[in-house]
C-alpha cells in the first residue's frame, strides 16, 4: 500500500491570458503513495484545480514529468491517456456532471459502455453499485428526478465502476448541504479505506482536516505538506 503511485517532478503549467502569462503551477514536486487520502487546499487561483486536471490527465504540463505507477504519462498520446483515465482514474465533480437524458443506472454504466465492456458484465456491476450506494429504487430515474445527494452518489458510483486506482474529487460537497455532504464524504472515505487513493480539492478546512495528508497550495506551489497521524474527526487546523 505504500508504493509510490504518483510522482510529479518540476511541473510547470503556464496559461496565456492575452498578453500576460499566468503560472498556474511552478516547479511543483509531489509524491503520493497508493491508498493515500490527500486534501488539496488553498485560495482560489492557487493551482488546485490545475493540479487535479494534470493528475487526471485532462491537462498536460508545459514542462516536467508526471509518473503514474512508475510510467511516464506526460508523453502518452491522447488516446493512450484516455485509456489510462478509463482504467485507473475516477472523477467526482462539484456539479456532478451527470448526462441529463440518461437514467441513474445508465449514467453509472457510462464508463463501461465507453470502454466496450460486455453488457452482461455491465449489468452485474451496475446492479451491485446501485445496491452499494443505496440507489436501487432510483435506477430508472433521470438526474433531474434525483436529490443532490443522490446525484453525487450516482457520480461516485460512476467514478468507481471501472475499479480505478484513484479517485479525483473536485469540491465534491460544494453543491450539497452539510448533512448530504457529510454522507458523500463518508462514502469517499469508505472507498479510501478499501485501498483507493483519494485526492480531494476542497475549500472547506473542516473537510480538509479529515484527510490524512493536507496539501496547502499557494501561487502554483506547495506551501505546506502536512501528514496527520491522528485519525479523523479532527478539529480545524
Amino acid at each position: 500500500m505504500s508504493a509510490t503511485q504518483i510522482e510529479l517532478e518540476r511541473i510547470e503549467r503556464v496559461f496565456h491570458l492575452g498578453d500576460s502569462e499566468v503560472h498556474a503551477l511552478r516547479g511543483l514536486n509531489l509524491c503520493i503513495n497508493a491508498g493515500e487520502y490527500v486534501a488539496v487546499m488553498g485560495p482560489s487561483g492557487s493551482g488546485k484545480s490545475t493540479l487535479l486536471n494534470l493528475l487526471g490527465l485532462l491537462d498536460r504540463p508545459n514542462t516536467g514529468v508526471y509518473r503514474l505507477e512508475g510510467r511516464d504519462v506526460t508523453t502518452l498520446s491522447p488516446d493512450e491517456q484516455a485509456r489510462v483515465r478509463s482504467q485507473r482514474i475516477g472523477f467526482v465533480f462539484q456539479s456532478f456532471h451527470l448526462v441529463p437524458r440518461l437514467t441513474a443506472a445508465e449514467n453509472i454504466a457510462l464508463p463501461m459502455v465507453l470502454a466496450g465492456l460486455p453488457a452482461a458484465q455491465r449489468a452485474e456491476r451496475v446492479t451491485q453499485a446501485l445496491k452499494d450506494y443505496g440507489l436501487e429504487h432510483r435506477a430508472d430515474h433521470k438526474p433531474d428526478e434525483l436529490s443532490g445527494g443522490q446525484r453525487q452518489r450516482v457520480a461516485i458510483a460512476r467514478a468507481t465502476i471501472m475499479r480505478p486506482a484513484m479517485i479525483l474529487a473536485d469540491e465534491p460537497t460544494g453543491n450539497l448541504d452539510r448533512a448530504t455532504g457529510e454522507e458523500v464524504i463518508r462514502l469517499l472515505e469508505g472507498l479510501n479505506a478499501s485501498g483507493v487513493t483519494l485526492i480531494m480539492v476542497t475549500h472547506d478546512n473542516a473537510l480538509g482536516a479529515r484527510a490524512k495528508r493536507q496539501l496547502l497550495m499557494q501561487d502554483g506551489g506547495v506551501l505546506a505538506d502536512q501528514l496527520q497521524t491522528a485519525t479523523p474527526p479532527a478539529e480545524a487546523a
Binding site: 491537462d59 491522447p78 484516455a82 485509456r83 456532471h97 437524458r101 459502455v113 470502454a115 471501472m162
Partner: protein, 402 residues
Amino acid sequence: MRALDLIRFAREAATGNPLRAGLLVLAMGIGVAAVVVLTALGDGARRYVMNEFSSLGSNLVIVLPGRSQTGGFSPGNAITNTTRDLTIADAQALLTASAVKRVAPLTIGTSEISAGGKLREVMVAGTVSQYAQVRQMAMAQGRFLADGDWGRGANEAVIGAKVRQDIFGTGPALGQLVRIGDRRFRIVGVLATAGQGLTLNTDELVLVPVSLAQAMFNTNTLFRIMIEAHDRSAIETAKKQVADILQTRHDGEQDVTVITQDAVLSTFDRLLGALTLGVAGIAAISLGVAGILVMNVMLVSVSQRTSEIGLLKALGATQAGIRMIFLTEAAMLSVTGALLGYLLGQTAAALIRLMYPTFPAYAPNWAVLAGLSTALVTGIVFGMLPARRAAALDPVQALSKR
C-alpha cells in the same frame, strides 16, 4: 465502444432533443421524397410515351407526305418546292418491296355520323383491311373492313367503342345502317376499347374504306401510309426500299418523310431520360441543402453538449470514440430522414398512379438508390466537421462549461 451501444447512445442523444432531430429528419425526408417523386414523374412520362408509341403496332414504318428534314440544297428544290401528294397508287406500289409485309393507306377527316335521330361529329379514317393487322387492333364485335380492291369499297363501316355507345346506347349496332356525311354505311364491326392514346383515339373513330373516305372528303391524297416490315431486322431495309420506290414514282424527288417506330421511340426515350436525369439533379440540390442543415444542427448540438463531451473524455472516451458518437448520430438522423422521405415519395407516387391510372409514375431504381445513398453520404460528410470539432475539444475547458 460497441456498435450496439454506440447506436443506442446516439439514438438517445438524438431523441433527447426531439425538435432538432425532427427538423433534420424532415429536411432530409423532403429531399429524398423530392428525388423519388420527381423522378417518378419524369420516368412515368417516359414510360407513358413509350407505351403509347409501342401501341401503334410492331415493326412499323410510317410515310408522311412532305419533307420534314432539311437536306441542304438539291436541284429538285430549285425547280419546285410543292410536294407531291401521297396517293393510293403510291401505297399499292410499296407492296412490291421485298421487306414490306403489309401496307395500309390512311386518310383522315371529320364528318358527322347519324342514326336513329342521334348525331355526333366523328373523326373518319379511310383505310383498308390490312390496317387492323398493321395497327394490331382488336375487335369487340363483328369484323374489320373487308379485303378487296383499294380503289373501290363497299359501304361498310367499323366504329369505335365510344361512338357505338353514343349512337346506339345499349342497343345492337352490328348490321345497322348509319349516315356518315352524305352516304349510308352498314356497321360491320365495333372496335375493342383501347383507351386514350397519344395518337388517334380509336374509341371515337369511324373507319370506312379508303376510296369512299377520299370521295367523302373530295380528295385523292393520303394522310399517312402505314407499313409493316417482315420483322424487326427488316425495318431499316423496308425504310430504304419505301423511300426509293416513292422517289422513283415522284420523278426522283425525295418529297416524303419515312420514319420508323424505333427511331421515334429511341428519340423520345433519350429525350425523356434526360429530362428525368435533370429533375433528379434539381431534387438532389435539396439533398445538398439538407446536408448543410445536418452540419448546422450537429454544430449546435456539439456546442450545447460541450460539458457532456468533456465528461465523456474524463470517463475515458478516445477522440475517435467521440467522433464516432457524433458521426453515428448524424448518420442515424440522415438515414431516418432518408427512409421517411422514401416512404413519403413512394406514397406520393402511388397517389399519382391512383389519380391518373394511365400514368405509370414509378420512381426508377437508380434514382431511389442514388437518393438514399446521397442522403447518407451528405449526412456523414457534413457530420464530419462537427464530429471533429467535438473530438478536438479541450476536456478541461469543456468540463468547466455549464
